[in-house]
């Protein structure tokens, strides 16, 4: 465990060990605080046909007559065995619902994630390269506007424009009505995917644009960029080459850290577009008093977000070697080696640019 990623993994695993139980306790507390009678939520409108004895019997069968902490440990014991309970609104085990709905969410979120990264970092680089001129102002204004516009409103506007007024794209569901998953063509699926992905990815570009722009401007104003400029590198090549490598390294981290936001956006987007994913199930669970499903989804998203953060840290350290240095390490020997590093960097730059180094 001497390598940098080994130590990173250890640190992160230790974090998970205390974070996950704490989160589980919090989520369970929140769900059991709800002023909703689970029996009533389960029985629904037929509640008047049930007598108090029957109600008590159901409560006893579900263990609702026991105190909260006992119920929590029961839930935990089942959770460890992979049993998340039964969903009331889908009338199926929670795990089945999750597994069934995960692929659709993955397709939606994966496409949006990639699209947002490509578009966001591209616009960020463009804005930084044209710093202060009209493309920069336009892009910055755009980033600002989308960061304050409600995501679900953007979705509604898109439906209004592309699905109603222009009638180019479908506004609902993952497939045309009457078509099953097996007989559907991938092209049909893709057509239904366009509007939700557009909505979600637009929402994700805002912070990314600003981050990439800031990092790239910081680089372009710095000494290394000045050095390369003096060697005759053009501004365009500077921004696209070493500049964007400098900026995009941390952009990956920022983008991966925003997975939680992406899921939040997908809850709203899936509700609007009737996309059969986890987000839609979240809303159904929350409005239908389906506590087991809500708990299951929350746990899954927490794990996904934690994994995303771990991946972000590993990627960041892989891209940027400076992050691999642990703070406890001594910095003195490194300082001593600095003049040599400088010389080698100069030689390297010079050879890449085919320029004779001075002295």
């Amino acid at each position: 465990m001497n390598s940098w990623w080994g130590r990173l993994m250890m640190k992160r695993l230790c974090r998970l060990v205390w974070l996950l139980p704490l989160t589980a306790v919090l989520l369970f507390t929140l769900v059991s605080l709800a002023p909703i009678d689970p029996v009533q939520a389960y029985v629904g409108a037929r509640m008047s046909m049930i007598g108090p004895e029957q109600q008590a019997a159901i409560e006893a069968a579900w263990g609702l007559d026991q105190p909260g902490w006992i119920r929590f440990f029961h839930w935990l014991a089942h959770l460890v065995q992979g049993d998340l309970g039964d969903s009331i609104s889908y009338n199926a085990p929670v795990l089945t619902v999750l597994v069934e709905r995960f692929p659709a969410s993955l397709a939606l979120m994966g496409c949006s994630f990639l699209a947002a990264f490509v578009v966001g970092s591209g616009l960020g680089v463009l804005a930084a390269a044209c710093q202060g001129r009209w493309p920069d102002r336009l892009i910055r204004g755009w980033a600002m506007v989308i960061s304050v516009s409600p995501g679900f409103w953007i979705a509604l506007l898109f439906i209004s424009i592309f699905a109603v007024q222009l009638a180019w794209l479908p506004s609902c569901c993952a497939l045309p009505p009457g078509v099953t998953q097996d007989e559907a063509h991938w092209w049909q699926y893709g057509r239904h995917l366009v509007l939700p992905v557009l909505t979600l990815s637009i929402y994700g570009t805002g912070p990314l644009i600003l981050h990439v722009r800031q990092r790239l401007i910081g680089f372009l104003d710095g000494p290394s960029a000045r050095h390369l400029r003096l060697h005759g590198m053009s501004s365009t090549r500077l921004a696209l080459g070493p500049g964007s490598r400098h900026a995009l390294g941390s952009a990956v981290t920022v983008h991966l850290a925003s997975i939680g936001e992406l899921f939040g956006g997908s809850v709203l987007a899936e509700t609007i577009f009737a996309w059969p994913g986890l987000g839609q199930a979240t809303v159904k669970a929350a409005t239908g008093a389906d506590a087991p499903l809500l708990l299951g989804i929350a746990l899954v998203t927490v794990v996904v977000v934690l994994l995303g953060n771990l991946l972000a840290d590993i990627l960041a350290a892989w891209v940027d070697p400076r992050l691999r240095i642990m703070p406890q390490e001594e910095t003195l020997p490194r300082l001593k080696r600095l003049p040599w590093l400088k010389a080698s960097a100069r030689l390297k730059t010079a050879s890449r640019l085919k320029v004779e180094p001075k002295s």
Binding site: M144, V148, P150, A286, V302, D313
Partner: protein, 293 residues
């Protein structure tokens, strides 16, 4: 009174960057006051159901058109914004208050510091919107639920920042002297920490506020927020889906645009205040530039 007016005028008419911030702040304060005051006082007749005037396009009589039930969209949007702003103000105030208490507790007591840090880490590690849904669910939805949901989920970043500030304050000589003179933690927090944390607190409030109203609208949209019979932006947009599919685009445009403009004004103001009062956030990921909310 006259002196107050004179000082306000002199501050607002300053030609430098600070004057710009003050002008923007004054403008937003006036907008919010007018909206809450005016939107709440709109006569019911303006929003009454009127089947004779269903789904009218924007005209001089109905600036933003009417919805499927013939209600005037302009007054409904105003009333909805008033509702959103009220909830947002309350939630943001509660949230920043919580952040302040948490930050000061963490700075003054080591074991509480542990607790606050791990709580902050946990809250930041969870997907924000899921947490919002869970808290709203725990309170059974409704206006009360959405207010608590927004208040209880927006404090961590500001708390982390205030904790950092308060910790450097506690290390300073005068606080140490006060402490060795036997002052209680409560006294220290009240007399030494709070006055110094005020600028950050106000900036944090303004930064959190637009997020608060946007999240409130999102929760109301999925049906966990403000009750459907009250006018609110989220509920209006949720109900507008059918009208929009029938081609009545104005039903969607007005409420969202209103919400966006208010949020935009506060975001600009927050941006300025953040530059002036808040240091860049060096959180665990070390990458988010000065994000509070």
């Amino acid at each position: 009174m006259k002196r107050v007016m004179v000082s306000i005028v002199s501050i607002v008419t300053r030609s430098d960057d600070t004057g710009k911030s003050y002008r923007l702040a004054l403008f937003m304060a006036i907008v919010v006051t007018l909206m809450i005051w005016g939107g709440g006082a709109l006569p019911d007749t303006m929003m009454a159901v009127n089947p004779a005037q269903r789904s009218l396009a924007p005209s001089w009589q109905h600036w933003l058109g009417t919805d499927l039930l013939g209600r005037d969209m302009a007054s409904r949007t105003l009333a909805g914004l008033a509702q959103s702003l009220k909830v947002g103000l309350l939630a943001a105030a509660l949230s920043t208050l919580l952040a302040m208490v948490m930050g000061m507790m963490a700075a003054l007591n080591r074991s509480l510091d542990r607790l606050v840090s791990s709580l902050t880490d946990m809250m930041l590690g969870m997907p924000h919107f899921v947490l919002l849904i869970m808290v709203a669910y725990a309170f059974g939805g409704g206006t009360v639920g959405v207010t608590w949901a927004v208040a209880l989920t927006h404090w961590p970043r500001l708390a982390r920042l205030l904790r950092h500030e308060a910790k450097t304050l506690v290390k300073s000589d005068y606080v140490q002297v006060s402490r060795s003179l036997g002052r209680s933690n409560l006294w220290l927090a009240r007399h030494h920490l709070m006055p110094h944390l005020m600028p950050q607190w106000i900036a944090g409030f303004v930064v959190i506020f637009p997020h608060a109203i946007l999240h409130e609208a999102g929760l109301s949209f999925i049906g966990l927020g403000i009750e459907p019979h009250l006018p609110s932006i989220g509920v209006m947009l949720a109900n507008s889906l059918n009208a929009m599919l029938a081609g009545f685009w104005w039903v969607v445009l007005a409420p969202g645009l209103g919400l966006m403009l208010v949020a935009f004004g506060f975001e600009r103001l927050g941006e300025r205040l953040r530059r002036q009062a808040l240091p860049p956030d060096r959180g665990s990921s070390g990458v988010s530039p000065g994000q509070v909310a």
